[in-house]
Amino acid sequence: MPEKLQGSVGPEQQFKNYLSEGKFMIQRCKSLDRFFFHPRVAFPGTGERDLEWVEASGIGTVHSTTCNRRLPEKGGDFNLSLITLDEGPRMMARVEGTEPDKVEIGQKVKARISSLNGEPAIIFDIL
């Protein structure tokens, strides 16, 4: 194991590895009993290092949402939203399954692991 680094890979690669295995995992600080995202080597702001990976419920709420306009030949309009996970942290993602400009703030959404440009990606569907 590399000196002073905990684990075989860093949290970013670990997150991606989990996604490749079909798991949406987020980190939790045990002593604070708090979740956070994005993945880090320590809890943001206070630096606690007693972290564990926990499978996210995948349930969240649309915090804000936009329709990004794009030419049809380049793939057409797409949604881009900020989702607040039920565990607390917020993340960027796309909401699909409805028109990209029909997503509304406050809607409950559920995550699934799909892919974008050949990489695993978390996409949300409206519940």
Partner: protein, 396 residues
């Protein structure tokens, strides 16, 4: 020393020269050439020789080590340099750092500079790396981030696209009085023009977004004792503060409350003035939502009340608040990093009032009896916030 002693920078330094060059379209000129030209013009304005400059501060979207590249280009051997890159507000933080270095006696003459030829070479230019955990969703940065904030603002406070459009209309009205503005001869905007412009990232359309131009700018700073003896009216740095809470918009703690709340409180405290004392208000308006957020965050009204404050062209030339009096990033100039241009306008208004010739404006374009200006810079995606308070000698 502690936080209560921050007043020790108040009035210790001043801007004694300024210039912009290559604003609009500067085909055939490189970003460095535009930036260096601005420095020479600002030194000419100040009446200070190039070889007296011993502090160099710069950032661009073209140079990873801008302060060093600029120093070399100018033929300088600075004793202190700072190329901190925190986006468009970088220059307002450079001014704070320059004030510290001048006051500490590390340097005697500082130049803060910027240059860009983005328009001539194909459009918006950034050297930002892709954001982990965001890039794969292909946000159209920075527009998407500001659109997310705008959408949330509309949700929380019941704002409409018309409320955002008021900002663009007033900015254009100012630009029509300013021959330096890119849209000086483009005619006024109506609310309908803004609403019907090509959608970019909902709820922001093309006219909710800043211009894309070329341009460079520079200011020259000295300690106040020397500033008194230069040929222009010195404009004193009364307060300066910065703060940032995030880099990626997905990490922004509150999409409708920026760290300008914190930077402006400390800058105003250092200055011993408050927001309502300001005769001119220069805000970094890369997008229409910025002006609403910063009017609130700097303390000109409570959260959510900027919607009412900007109605009826109240931030335009005929209104009660003199906001973005050059036309702003929306209608005057925006070469990619706009921070030095809020600074130039804040200072030009004060120098014009004091009798310096800093250019022509149509009637109403110069603010009568302006003694205090606030310049507020924003960088990244509503990320870095830097507030500078400027005043003439009688405000010291």
């Amino acid at each position: 020393m502690n936080q209560n002693d921050i007043n020790n920078l108040r009035g210790k330094t001043a801007v004694v020269g300024l210039a912009e060059s290559g604003c609009g379209i500067a085909s055939g000129w490189s970003a460095m050439e535009i930036m260096a030209n601005s420095v020479h013009d600002a030194l000419d304005d100040a009446g200070i020789k190039l070889n007296e400059v011993d502090g160099v501060f710069a950032a661009t979207a073209f140079h990873s080590m801008a302060a060093m590249s600029l120093s070399e280009y100018l033929g300088l051997k600075p004793k202190f340099a700072d190329g901190s890159q925190i986006g468009g507000s970088s220059f307002l933080s450079h001014i704070l750092t320059a004030a510290l270095a001048l006051d500490a006696g590390l340097i005697n003459v500082a130049v803060v500079a910027y240059g860009s030829n983005q328009k001539s070479i194909g459009g918006f230019k950034t050297i930002s790396e892709a954001m982990p955990y965001e890039a794969q969703y292909e946000p159209r940065m920075p527009v998407t981030a500001y659109a997310l904030a705008a959408k949330r603002y509309m949700h929380e406070f019941g704002a409409s696209r018309e409320d955002l459009a008021n900002v663009a209309v007033s900015a254009r009205d100012w630009a029509l009085l300013n021959p330096r503005a890119y849209t000086y001869d483009k005619g006024p905007l109506t609310i309908e023009d803004v609403l019907s412009a090509r959608p970019i990232v909902d709820p922001l359309g093309k006219l909710d977004c800043c211009l894309v131009t070329d341009g460079g700018a520079a200011v020259v700073m000295t300690r106040s004792d020397r500033a008194k003896d230069t040929k222009n009216t010195p404009i004193y740095l009364l307060g300066a503060a910065m703060e940032h809470h995030h880099r990626m918009v997905s990490e922004m703690p509150d999409l409708v409350r920026t760290s300008a709340i914190d930077s402006s409180q400390r800058a105003f405290k250092m200055s011993s003035y408050k927001a309502t004392d300001m005769d001119t208000i220069q805000l970094y308006d890369a997008f229409t939502i910025n002006t609403l957020l910063f009017l609130e965050d700097l303390g000109f009204c409570k959260k959510g009340e900027a919607i009412a404050l900007v109605k009826n062209n109240n931030i335009g030339p005929s209104g009660s608040l003199k906001v973005n009096t050059n036309g702003g990033g929306l209608s005057c100039v925006h070469p990619g990093m706009y921070g030095l241009f809020v600074t130039l306008e804040a200072i030009r208004q004060l120098r014009n009032s004091a009798g310096d010739n800093v250019g022509e404006r149509l009637n109403g374009g110069w603010i009568d009896n302006a003694k205090l200006s606030v310049a507020h810079g924003n960088g990244g995606v509503l990320s870095s916030q830097v507030t500078n308070v400027w005043g003439v000698s009688e405000t010291l």
